[in-house]
Symmetry: C2
Subunit: 197 residues, 2 copies
């Protein structure tokens, strides 16, 4: 095989979910793509990796020191939604139902993986609350044991702030889910937290 | 969303089989990858697109004017295996069962897609046979109508070469295929071309 082809296939197949066969298909696709387009692809990859920053306030991905969400004066600065990862910010933003700020922990407390509270941006969250006029913190974390542990830890950490409301996302049956296939814990939770129509 | 992240997601999602969600997952993966590694990925992409050549003899992808297979003196220069695409060369090479040369047509005759014989490297094949001491041409094309048409065209084109054997890959039941799920045409072919054990 040509060395150039070999190189690109071996580099592409290092990406998650991309095997040798897919990598080859992508390489052949690149051949049929305009050189300028391919240049834009590789440029965007290098620039993203080398120039991306983390927002000093909320730890979200950002082009500058402060991310576009924190910098947006039209957003409600009194609510902070705490999430594990950047992709969770995007998921919530896609709903267009939330107009507050975010705080990206960068992970979740997981003793099994050796991730403790000090590895996450929990202190930064407390600092931001101490500094600003925050009324509510929404915990939008995983429903796993690790998620519950992290939520518990954050709740305790924030218990000193008088008048601060700490909430978590509602649990229940998701839209489109069938009762038949929902697990017992979810159904039990949904019964206990039933809503009057 | 940060512009850098937006750019890389939009560029990655132009790749075949990569949607916005996968592109985001790949971008997050790049963040966790060493900068040098990411540099190697984007370099390999640009270099592949800008520096790759087509072998002047067989139309295979090549770093130089002649591809490594054509340049390899240990290979049998009297047999040419005709394939549609570069990826077919790799598939056959992976079997380690063939030691001859290749000829990459660059496609298949397809009136529906407006691809005629002149769009493929069929004349180059005839030239190579006229020049060299070729004893056999193996047609390793698709089993589609287009593949059969292309094979027929090439056969007629090469009919002038005295003593040249033109063969095609054996058709039959593939290893691991179950008879129950094989189509009628394949089974019919396999019966007609049955082999004495």
């Amino acid at each position: 095989m040509s060395k150039l082809l070999n190189d690109v296939v071996s580099e592409l197949s290092k990406l998650p979910g991309v095997g040798k066969r897919t990598a080859l298909r992508l390489a052949i696709h690149l051949l049929r793509t305009d050189k300028t387009e391919v240049g834009m692809l590789s440029d965007s990859i290098t620039r993203f990796r080398n120039e991306i920053k983390y927002c000093v306030r909320c730890n979200n991905l950002s082009d500058g020191d402060i991310c576009p969400i924190c910098a947006d004066k039209s957003r409600d600065g009194s609510i902070i939604c705490v999430v594990e990862h950047v992709k969770d910010v995007i998921s919530i933003e896609n709903t267009s139902q939330y107009n507050g700020l975010y705080h990206v922990l960068g992970g979740i407390i997981s003793p099994m993986q050796g991730i403790g509270p000090s590895d996450l941006k929990i202190d930064l969250l407390a600092e931001n609350i101490a500094k600003g006029d925050i009324k509510e913190v929404i915990l939008a974390l995983s429903t796993s044991v690790e998620g519950e542990t992290t939520a518990f830890y954050i709740c305790r950490k924030l218990s000193g702030f008088q008048g601060l409301k700490v909430s978590s996302l509602a649990r229940g049956i998701g839209f489109g889910d069938e009762l038949e296939y929902a697990d017992e814990l979810t159904i039990a939770h949904a019964i206990h937290n039933r809503k009057t129509i």
